[in-house]
Structures are given as C-alpha cells and as structure tokens.
Point group: C2
Chain length 884, copies 2
Amino acid sequence: MTDWVYRFGMSQTLGNSSMKNLLGGKGANLAEMAALGLPVPPGFTITTKLCTYFYDHQKSYPAELKSQVSAALLEIESSVGAKFGDVENPLLVSVRSGARVSMPGMMDTVLNLGLNDQTVAGLAKKSGDARFAWDSYRRFIQMYSDVVLGVSHDEFEKIIDTHKHENKLAQDTDITAQGWQDIVAQYLELVKAELGRPFPQNVEEQLWGAIGAVFDSWMTPRAVTYRKIHSIPENWGTAVNVQAMVFGNMGTDCATGVAFTRDPSTGENYFYGEYLVNAQGEDVVAGIRTPQPLSIAAKAKDGGNLPSMEEVMPNVYRQLCTVRAQLEKHYKDMQDIEFTVQQGKLYMLQTRSGKRTSAAALKIAVDMVAENLITREDALLRIDAGSLDQLLHPTIDPKAKRDVFGRGLPASPGAASGAAIFSADEAEQRALKGQSVILVRIETSPEDIHGMHAAKGILTTRGGMTSHAAVVARGMGRPCVAGAGSIQIDMVKKIMYANGREIKEGDILTIDGGKGEVMIGELPTLKAQLSGDFATVMGWADDVRRMKVRANAETPLDAKTAREFGAEGIGLCRTEHMFFDPERIQNVREMIFAPNEDLRRAALTKILPAQRADFVELFTIMKGLPVTIRLLDPPLHEFLPHAESDIRIFADLAKIPLDIVKRRLNELAESNPMLGHRGCRLGITYPEIYEIQAVAIFEAALEVDVTPEIMIPLIATRAELSKLKKLVDDVAARIYVRDGKVLPYSVGTMIELPRAALMAREIAEDAEFFSFGTNDLTQTTLGMSRDDAGSFLPHYVEKSIFAKDPFASLDQEGVGQLISMAVTRGRETRPDLKLGICGEHGGDPDSIDFCENVGLDYVSCSAYRVPIARFAAAQAVIRKQQKI
Amino acid sequence: MTDWVYRFGMSQTLGNSSMKNLLGGKGANLAEMAALGLPVPPGFTITTKLCTYFYDHQKSYPAELKSQVSAALLEIESSVGAKFGDVENPLLVSVRSGARVSMPGMMDTVLNLGLNDQTVAGLAKKSGDARFAWDSYRRFIQMYSDVVLGVSHDEFEKIIDTHKHENKLAQDTDITAQGWQDIVAQYLELVKAELGRPFPQNVEEQLWGAIGAVFDSWMTPRAVTYRKIHSIPENWGTAVNVQAMVFGNMGTDCATGVAFTRDPSTGENYFYGEYLVNAQGEDVVAGIRTPQPLSIAAKAKDGGNLPSMEEVMPNVYRQLCTVRAQLEKHYKDMQDIEFTVQQGKLYMLQTRSGKRTSAAALKIAVDMVAENLITREDALLRIDAGSLDQLLHPTIDPKAKRDVFGRGLPASPGAASGAAIFSADEAEQRALKGQSVILVRIETSPEDIHGMHAAKGILTTRGGMTSHAAVVARGMGRPCVAGAGSIQIDMVKKIMYANGREIKEGDILTIDGGKGEVMIGELPTLKAQLSGDFATVMGWADDVRRMKVRANAETPLDAKTAREFGAEGIGLCRTEHMFFDPERIQNVREMIFAPNEDLRRAALTKILPAQRADFVELFTIMKGLPVTIRLLDPPLHEFLPHAESDIRIFADLAKIPLDIVKRRLNELAESNPMLGHRGCRLGITYPEIYEIQAVAIFEAALEVDVTPEIMIPLIATRAELSKLKKLVDDVAARIYVRDGKVLPYSVGTMIELPRAALMAREIAEDAEFFSFGTNDLTQTTLGMSRDDAGSFLPHYVEKSIFAKDPFASLDQEGVGQLISMAVTRGRETRPDLKLGICGEHGGDPDSIDFCENVGLDYVSCSAYRVPIARFAAAQAVIRKQQKI
C-alpha cells in the first residue's frame, strides 16, 4: 500500500529534510525540525505523489487515502488532547500547501479549520477568550470561503468596515467578542446568499474541501506563471500539510513572527526578523500591520521605535536565539523561519533555506567558510551563478545629486530608472515595447507577478522587508523599495504624491533598492564593485574551474570590460560589426555593388586600413591573450540601405543609377536569409572579401605580436573549410614573406550547422579549433528562427513543450547530442583540437555545466556575463566531481 | 617506379577493360580488343594518374615519364616497321584523350603527328600517293595548330576556300597534290605569322606538345561544363592514347566508319552504322560529308541511295560483322565502335559501351535477356533509371494535324515544342526566364552544350545520327531532329527557310525526335506508352524490389496518374493545396484573421465540407491503398493576399477594415518563414485547425472505408506529437462513437528537422510511422534555404564542394547520417515502425538506393517519377545483393 501520509511531531517522525521531492519543502523541514527536538505542533503531510495522482485521475483520490488521513488525525488529537469537531474541546488545524521549492504567496492556505457554530463555543470556553474564538471563526470563514468556496475576500472586508463604521471603531482590535459574533452571522448569510447553500458545518467536509483546494491551487494561473518564470516543472506537484493550530492571537502573551537567521539583504550575521504581538502569521506577511523588530540591536539599526521582542518577551526571545543557532548548525545555511508564541510558549511552524540577495548569498557563503560551517566547494554551490548578475549591475553614482521624492525600505538592492507605471498589465505592455518601467503599487500580490517580471524595479508604499513585493523582487533580482509610507498613490488618476509633489504615470523616476530611496528623473550610475566577498569567491571559482572563459567582443570598450571581468581572451570577434561603422558602410556597400572582382577588390582595399586599425586596437587591449576572429558572416543584404531615402543617398554617393541599385537590392533579398548566402558561402563565392580580412588580421597581428585564431563561419562540409583555410594560409605566407616576420596562428571553424557536427571527423582534418555557434545550431537543429519564434515559443514554454527557452538555455537533449557527437568525432581526428562555445549559451550556467561535462576547453560570452561564466564553470567542476 | 605508360597491340598487353579508371575508357578498351586478338594498331596509354600528377605539380611531368614514353614508342616503331621522324619511312601517330567515361567531342585529338617538311616526302614515297601525304600534312598542321598552338581553324579553312576559288575547284577532293603542297606552304606561313615562330618541325616536340594539349583540354570551360552536367568529378582526369596511325584516306580501298552493334535509337538488333570511303574518322563525326550506310538492309531502311559498305567492300564488311558478334558476346552489351580500312585491311580504333536512348536501352536489355547474353538482374542494372524519364514523356498525338515545315534524322526520340532560338546563349537566357525553347543550329559543337541543356529540343540542319548534336541530345534525353538538310538557316537574320516558308526567332515550333519531323506551331501530345518492353522490365523490377513506391499527390488527376504509373499508395497528401483553391481561399483567410478561437472555428467549419469532399474523392481513387495525409504545414502568411488590389478585395469581402488587414499581414510576416510559425506549431497554437482537418479526414474515411495515415509535420520534440496525436485520437473517438463505426488509422510524423532525427527514440513512442521529409531536412541540416541557394549552390557544385545538388540527390554523408540514426533509434522503440521518404529525393535513383540500404519501407515521389522509383528500388536491391 502506498504511504500517502507522513506524520511529524508525534509518536514517530519518518520524514526528513532530504525528502523534499515527496513531502515538499515545508513538510520535509517540519519533519526535520520535529526530529531535531524543536517545538513543532504535531501534524502530517499528504505527499506530492498524491497531487500527481489527483491530476492523473480526473481530480480523484486513491481509496486508501481517507483511512490514512483519519489515522493521522486521530494521533494529532491524542497528542494535543483535543478532538476534531468536538463541541467541548475542539482540535483546530491549518491546511497548507508545500511544493518542492518555495513558491511564496503562490499557494493557498486555510487556518483555524475545524471551527463551526458549535465548536466556536467550545474554543471560547477552552481558551477563556470569547473574542479570540469568534475572531478565529470569522477569520476561518473568510479564508475558507475565499480559498475553497470562491467567495471574494472583499465582500467580507466590507462587512467589517460597515461594522466598524456603525460602531465608530477605528481598528479591528477594537471589535468586541459580540461584534465578531455579529460579523460571523453576517458572514454566514453572505456565504449562503452567494452560494445558495450554507457554509459547511461538518469539519470533515471542511478538511477535505481545504485539501482539494490546495491541490487545485497548483494549477491556478498565478501558480502556472510563477512556475514558468522559475522553470519549475508542472509534474512536481505540491504536498499538503495538515497541522494542529497554535495561536499567536490569543492575547498579549501571544505573538507570531518571521525571521532570517542572517540578514537576507546584506548577509550580515545577525538575527533579522519581525514579529507582531497578538496576531496570526498572515498578519506579518500581508503587510497590513507594521511589524516590530526582533532585537534591540536591529531596532537601533533600523532607527525605529516599536518595542523589540527581546524587550517584550525576553525568555521566548532567548529560546528563539537558541533555535536559530541550532538550525544554522544543522542546516549549514541561512534559514527563513516562521514561529508562533502561544501563551508564552514558542512553536516553530517552518524553516527553510532563506532566499537572499546575491550580495547576501556571497557574504553568507564567505562568512560560513570562515566559521568552518561549510567548505569552499559548498560555498560555491550555494550561490546561484545566474543571480551574480545583480552584483554586476550598476548602482547610483554617489556624486549624483539625488532629488529624493520619498523613502521606503531597502527591500532588494540595485538601482533602476524607468517610467512610473501603476498596473502590472500596463507595465508588461510597455516593457514589451522596449520601455524601461518601474512598477508602482500600494502593495503587490501574486496577480502582479508578470508586471514585476517586466519591470526594471518595484516600488510599494505598504509592507515590510518580508512582504510579497520584497521577497519576490529579491528572487527576481529586481531592485525594490518597499513600504514607502510617505508616498500616497491615487490608483484611479495614476498619480503618486509626496511632500506636495507628484509623479504621474509615465514620468521617469529612479529607485535605489540598496538605500530605499525614490528619486525623480534618471540618475547616473556606476558599475558594480567587484572586490571584497565577490573577489574572494571569484578567486575560489578560478582555483576550481577547468574551462577557460572568454568574451564575445569586437569594440575596444567591450574588450576592456571583458578583461576587467576576467576574460581570458576573445572567443568571438564579429568582424561585420566593424563594417557597420557609419564611416565605412559606404565603401562596404560599394563593394557589394561592384559588378566584378576587380572593382570589388578596389572597394575592399579602401576598407582594409580601417579594419586593420580595428584589429591593432583590439589586439593591443587583449595582448597576451588569444583572440578568435570570425570572418564576415551575415548576408550582404544586411549592409545595404533599406529606406527609400537611404537608397537614394547611397546611389548618389556611389554614382550608380537608382534603378540598378534597386534591382541589385532585389537580387540580394532572400526568403530565408538565415539559411542563405552568408558565412563561408560569401568567402567561397567572393574569396577576395575573406582575403582582405585575412590581410588586415595578419598585418595587425604582426604589428602587435599576438596569436590570431581565424574562424570560418557556417561550414557545412570539409571542402569549404579546406578552400578557405588555404586562402588564409596563402595570405599569411605572402605577408610573412613580404614583411620577413613569422607569427603562429590557427584556423578553425564555427560548428553551427547540424551537418558540420555530423561531419566533425572530416572537418577536424582542416580545423585547428571548433567553436560551437549554438545560436545558429539551435535554430537549424530545431528548425526554429529566433526572430520568428516569438509567435509560438512563449506558448511552447508555457505548455511545457520545452522546459526552457532553447535560445536562452541550451537544448541539451537535442542540440546537446550534436555537440557531444562533434566533440567526440573531432577529437578522434585531432586529439588536441581546441573546443569552445560562443553562442548566447556560453553565459548561461546550465549550459556551462553541459560544456564542462562534454569537455569543452572554453566558453565565450558577453563581457558582463564573464564573471557568471567563471563562477558557473567552477560549479560545474564541483558538481561533476560530486557525481563521481 | 610508377608505371605511367601501358602498351597495347604489341609484345604484351597489360591493360584490360576493367582498368578504365587508370587507362580511361578508350585506352582500356583498346587493350581489351588487342588482347581479344582484334586488329588494333599498336600504341600505348599514358595513365589518368599522370593527369592528376600534372595538375598537382604546376603542369609538370614526373622525371621517369620521358624514358617510359620513348621505350613504348620504340616498340611501336619496331611493330609497325617505321620510325618516328624518319625521313624515309616515317611513323605517324594519333594522340587522343580518353577519360574514364566518354565525353563526346569534349576532348581534343591530334592525328597524323610525326609529319614535317622532311617526313611528308617520306610518306609520299612510302604510300606512293603524294596527294595523300600533303593532304595528311595539311590536316596535321591545321589540327595541331588549332588544338596545341591555339591558331583558329577558320583561318586555315579560308586558305582552302581561296585555293578552291582561285582554281575553280568545287570540293576538297578536287585539290591536287601540288594544290595541297601550296596550301601547306601557306599554312606554315600563317602559323609563323600568328605565333611569331615556325610550326614545330621536331617530331618529339610535336608529340609532347600534343600530350600536354590533351591534359590541358581536361580543364577547358567546355569540359568543365560537360562534367558539371554529367556529375563527373574533376579528379578523375584523362588518359592520353598514342597510337600508330592507320589511314582511311589513302585511296578508294580505304575507308573509315563508326557503328553501333545495335540501333542506339530504337535498340533493334541490326548492325547500325555509317562509313565514308577515302576519309579520316573525323570526317564522319564532324558531319561535313554525308556518310553512307553499312549494310544493304540499313540502306533500304533509311531509303537512301548511297552505296553501302556491304556492297562496296563485301570482304571487309563480313570481317566487321564477325568483330561485331565477337564484341557483343565478349562485352555482353551493345558496343559503339570506330574502325578504319587501310588499303583493304580492317583496323579497330575504338570500342565502348554505346550510348543509347532509353527506349533502346530497354529493348536491348530485354532482347539480350531473351538471347541469354545477360540475366534479368544484369538487364535491370543496365538501364539508367533516371533516363526512363524519357519514355514517360509525351509524344505527339497521332491524330494531330502536322504542318510539316521540314524533315531530318530522328536523332533522339520524344516530342518538344518551344520558341525557335538560334544561339545557345539566347536559349539559355530564355530558358532561365521559364520559356520553352527549341535550339536551332546548322550543326552543334561543344560550345553549345549549355544551350542544348537549357532547350526542350534540338534541331540541326547538318550532320548524321552520330553527329555531336545527336549523341549529346540522346545523352541528355532531349528530343532531337538532326541533319534537316531541306531547311536553310540565316544565322544573321535569325530566320530559317524551307519550302518557301520561314520561321523567325521566337516563333513556336514542334519537333518530333522519333520521326525526325519539324512542325510549325505547338502540337498536342499524348502520354507515353507504358506497355511492351517497358512493361516487361517494370515487371522484373517489381518482382525484385523490396520497398513500396507511393506518390506525393493531392489532386484527383495526380492520384489517378500515380495509380496508373503503379503507385502503391499516397505517401504525402499536402492538405494545404486544398486550401489554395480559389473558392476556398476567402474562408481560409477569414480563418487566419479571426481574432479568437470561436471565430476561427466558425471560419474553419465553412472549410470543412469542401475538405471532406476532397478526401472522399481522393480516398475513392486510392481505395484499397494507404493514404498518408499531412496536416496543415505552411506558414499562414502563404495563404494571404500580397498585392495591394488583392488585399483590398479580401478586406471588402471579409468586412475587415483595411488597416487592420494590413497590420495583421505585417504581424504574420516572418524573417525566416521556413523556420517560423508553421507545421505542427500551427497545430499547437491553433489546435482547432488540426481538429477540423481531422474531422474531415475521419468523416471521409468512414464514407469510403479506407485506412488513413495522419501525418504531423515539423515535429521537433516528442511533446508536440503527444499533444497532437491526442487531439487526433480524440476526434477519431468522437466521430466513431457518433457514427457507430470504427476504422483503423494511424498517426505518425514527418522527420524533417535534425532534432526529430536525433530524438527518434522518444518520438517513436507516439509515432506509428516516420516519413522523412528530406527537403526540409536538407535545408535545416545544411542550413541552406532551397529558395535562396541559387546564388551560391551552382558555384558549389561547379567547384565540387558538393558532388551533386543536395536538393536533387540526397546528401548521403550528412543528411543520410541523420536518417540512418532515426531509422535505428525509431525501430529500437518500435520494431514495426513504418518508415518512408516523401521529399523530392524519393524519385531520385541514387537517393532510392540509399533508402534501400537504410531499410526504409517505402519511397514516395511525384506521380511521373513513380516508374523510375519502382525501377530504381529494384536496382538498389540487386546492387545490395551484389555487395554481399
């Protein structure tokens, strides 16, 4: 019989933190904490396998589930000393989702389940607090109706508002027991009116309704969106955790809080968290009441004046500090915990590895190595290579004059400028048009995810450091200023006000997520600091990694940046970028229009000095490092004027009749330029183009004394490479003889067509190196144009037809096969064949992992991705070693 | 030491007919005939390896060549009893090229080499015929100057014309010995004036000059063109044959002739040839004098009145008949021979497998099987599958009224109509523009090859059945009427005249290459007769072949033709062809413009009845045979109007504002439509399109009771196929339940993307069949758009970068690897996976051979190629067996 149900915190805890795939993150860690002896309210987890079963069987359950749940519930009853549905001594439970990885705010939760018109009286009697009992009941009705029955939250809020208004009450805390009882009555009527049937009084029905709702929530659009953004497979499913309720809202000796064992924003090693007296957990996360700091030190640091837990509940605080130390020692990682204090007693409700900013991840990893908690290898694996990107992004120039419009919490570091936009949909629309956008909301909710993803930064006027906006923004690496209470927003007029000034929709503002400041206008930025912990960790990575990291660069600026970021050479210098220079394009165009080889040669000769000068500059910057230069690749059509006016200007300058220019433009137009007359096909049909490029390269190389690697693009068959290698060799020989100097160089090819990968054995006879051009190799292998895939690829990723966008992360099972094949075959012919990758994938950590595994010698990526690639290359080595 | 020289017809003959690669066809067969004891003048062959050496070493020879040539020449001298360069008793030799395969008229030849101002006197004395000696000398000077020294033939002809004019002589035969001597003096002056140095008198210099010229001739543009057309690799090279001269022009007991052992046009088993008394071989081939028939029977058959060889030289004729029988028995094939009679003695100068028309190939093969000369398998391999095409082409409707303009020889069968064009260049130009062209020439020469290739048919007014025009036209499968002497051509005015009528350039005419008639205007044609020998041979092929042959067809006409041609099903029914129907396109367009699924469905529902009716018709025609239907494949953009006026009409009819229509047109345009939103990507994003198509298919299938095979195009990953197979299965289930009927069907996929081939193991989990779409698979594997390759692919084929156009004949080493891989992997998952090919390559014999070898179940091609495919499939089986 399948075990669908795992118990924890009672007789025997079978689960543990390694069982996240089966129990979900929350369930596995509850079990682990219980086994550690921490105070965890008893409960049980229904496994993720059941979620899969549920969707595979038209949303039905296996027969044996009922008895397994009943048995576990019985043990909770005996453990807590209360009975589910009992009128005198009712057991209340929470029902929470818990997927394999945390999906904050994505999944639905039901608290206080087990209350009905009878048991509410029992709870009142047992707790001696009628107000608490009726408040709990109304919370339950409201939450259950929203999550399970589909009755909007807002309707219930209106009833409370009306009640407060009629009774002239300022806050919810002013409502009396009788008040809550009256509200409950109205709630029940509302549910009946909305649904045409009464609110379920049977607690079993309540329980199964809630379990079903958690499983249903796995497929809500917001969950689907979140999974899409975070590449979480649909078939992972969620677990359901049913746990005895503990109450942080039974009085002033009660509290609830969330904390990180270290500062998740900076990584500093102090106990960082928030709590609220006499509240339920949802109150902290929802950002409705402003939470209080945990410690006196933190209070001082924030400059706030709300009393800290250390002051208000010193004993419980000390106990919590012990738990903090115990958890960090046990998990060897920074933890994100939830706790509740019920009548002075601490209960742990959750622990999980805490989300953190990249800077925090770095600092925590480096500190934990120093504390001997983890090894350097652990530290390297602990940091998400992709998120290092955040550290490499610019911050606001400290010398810039800051016209501060308002202040909030520094919820996610980094600076961003853009148009203020007040809705997620509009933010997404504008971002699609290429506009930089700052999403401005009172507070964010899971419905805003797509807008947050589209925005450069996020600003909220309500909520704390653990509010939805803050957590999600940190996860996405977006700068975020949260809870900027001095700013008022008029959502209808789409204007925000502060200190008598206003920012309208579309106005440009800048946010500093590191300082929590909001500025009017766009501020100058400075590049990232790459010293300190970053340098330490990059040093460790460099010690570990096997693959070299090069940059794709052709401009002096890019090359300089690449060297600063630690690039060990240029893996792809696209010579055509030099052709697009406005001062040269006329010559390039005249070359294309030349009716014969002699005139083409004449035009090319005019281009030669400029191209040679480019190479001299590039080689000088990269001196001592290898530089791979790709000969002309794009179809000639790309260089030509397209607008009528440009065509006229060109024709005039070139002294070619307009109709001839237009005819040639037509001739050069292609149905599928990606598969057309480009790459080495240009070199084969117009050898003089490659010849002049080779001349420029060798003359420049002799001047600067570097070792050029000349790369022939779009090879499909060995004969192409043989011919063009001979052409390059002939040029080299000619120039070396002429100048009486000799320099080593090599000639290789891009492997960017399936046929080239298949014929690698033969091609390696002539090629001294292969560079996998995975952009084109992906396009051809999948038969998918990157320029056109926008009309269907998002749909494909959404429907899980592709797990990831194959242009962002290498299609390892398809394109990867061709790469593996080419590596093996190429090395059969030439054991010392140098192998690299120069597509976009060269900067993608997962793809870099693949490159390590197939044994490439280097990866090459854009300059700003170089540190990520260095880091990911190290992680790949460690992962590979761990597999062995 | 390398043997560069092989002797024949002397002490020892080392070569034989199996050594064509080394000795060339002519050299190998001269050796073989010598070994058979036939009368072959002694000589030697310089091997094709030397040609390769020559081009690899800046046109120089290996050191040892000279001594090998000298030794062989010495033996000729002793064998013939004459001495090279000897003043008294000079040996004359011919120097002829001889490549691995015959390249008629392509390579240069020098005869009578060894004559100079001294030896001419020796020849006169020895032969007792001064006129013959001086005529031979002038022929030698003229030929050597043209071929070796580059002095134009025409200049020499002018000297003869002037001489005849001044001496009032009608024909060359009227010129006296002294006349030729005078002409020789003028010839020598001409050469000296043209070159600035005298004609070489040293016979060794003459010999090496001629040898070098033969090797040089391998790279002349006309040779390069011929090789390109006939896919002959450049590195095969040519051999050089140096042979003692025999003379057909030493008097009236001398003759020269060419013959085929059977009729090369019809295949009839009679001795078919032509000869000329007192002439050299070149005179027959050049078509300058009208040749005479060999036998009395042939004379009667042609209705001519020139005396036959049987009458003129009965003894030699009988000897020749014996040789004919001996050669056919030995070679077991129809032979093309050249012979010379010198003073009553027969010499064999060449034998080779004779070129023939497809009809002749058929008849000869069938006859030889009946004669027990060859087996059925031999017969099948003896026929060029590709050339069967000729038999399948139309002939002129016998009931059509023939307005005969002129008559000539039936030089190559088949009928063709087109514009009369008088130059090869113009013919090529017009053909490129899509015009049908008949090339009209007085006689053709190798310089006309490109025009002959471009023309639909060829008409000449001079030359016989073995003239250049006739031989080349038969080889190319072009209809040809040769030697139409009743027609006069004015090449300047570009008009031809006959019987007081004229045809100007551009006027339409029709030629009947089977009857030798030229008609004014375009005549109606009948399709080919597929009975008789054709049916016999196809029957043998069907007995032998393993693979099924299907047709690519969607129209009723195509389907009917395909069945008549023996198609065993439809391998590719392109449903989009049904969408282009003018009556439906509006609905299709409205479907594309539908803003949501409901409206799209509504438009589709309007298309449904027509599509269903199409399927009913198609299924009815193909009843009892499998029909593979491909769901919609092309990008939607292809269905839309593009001309401004069409766009307006569409917008009006659809009642959609023009600007919205234009915007949507822009949205749907793609950079690389070949790699865009098409194939199954349409089915994934607009499932309702595939759904309606499936409905039409299943409803039609139930009506006609066939087994449909539904094919999903452009699959890259299994998930696509899983989703779409489910959609099809759901439709089938729904309709089967609704109609209470069940029919078997299968769902499979095109393998047309490299990724699909790589993932075949996974894809076969869902696919019941694979059909290799080699058009797209070639485009993606090579990264080469068929639409755009025109700008470089011809250059690639010309430069031997690709041996053949990969869109015409499968790229076996590249694309073939992917197919092999997919076959193996697919069958690993599903041993009974049905495998076929449906690209253009399905009708190409070489590609079909590949398909047999990788074990496909069927090939599918256009209806007219079905017989060729049936035949090629049989050949493939035999070749495979022979390999084992």
